[in-house]
Amino acid sequence: MVACHLPVKGGAQHPHRSLLWLLNRSTAEIADMRMPVMSRLAFFISLLFSGLTLAAESMVTISAPADGATLDAMTENAITYEVVPGPKGDHSHLYVDGKEDAVLRKLKGSYTLPTLTAGEHNICIKVVNKGHVPIGVEKCVKVMVQ
């Protein structure tokens, strides 16, 4: 049941009604607050948008190969990654030396790299949106193939 009754009449703000406090309340508790109808409506709308902004930020992690690693040209090499698309992203693309090589639909896993010639190569994973446009979040590693 309601553990806290808020004196919100007249628009006065309770000192504890921070975002953290709100996140710790159940929907039933929030709905049971003594708030005017319009304030309650505005509150739920603001909660919805605050939820959107709280979504995890986009991020790419490449756990293997490490940046600067040396790879064997004669063996099958794979990249191990994890992608958090975030609110703007959808999936990711893999690039080898600036050229798109694959669409990575799995958010976490391993992908076998194409055969790489001897020398230095730049491997990148970029987060893209539903329209396949890079949103500016990427992770790259440089590898040396021998």
């Binding site: 693309h93 446009v133 890079p134």
Partner: protein, 137 residues
Amino acid sequence: MDGQDLLYALNQIAHNFGAVAVVGGALLGRWPVRVVLAQRRPLAWLVLAGWILQGVSGATFGAISFAYYGQFPDIHGIAVAALLVKMSCAFAGIILTALWLRFGDKWSERSREGVWGLLLLLAITALSAAAFLRWFS
């Protein structure tokens, strides 16, 4: 709600209805019942509008991406080929339908039938290419 997603969705609606118009219009004009020339004109306008809508909304997808990120969708290989096929179909569809509307009444019945068959083929090809563009990019 993200404005970018809303724009993509609204544009997708236009693109989808364009696809319905080019496939449905050509199908109705060609098969299964042969309609008379006068009845085909509204269908031809529908197909022309559909192809124009396809072209414009297709370009708008790229424009939305450019507006938000300063670059076009990053596609390659089969997806690029599929996009070129779609663009060629739209271009050919617009030209062919416009020619039919302008000069079709002077053509033989066989030629008119042939054009509708070709329009149907273009529509099916474009719709099929769309599937490859969607899943190979």
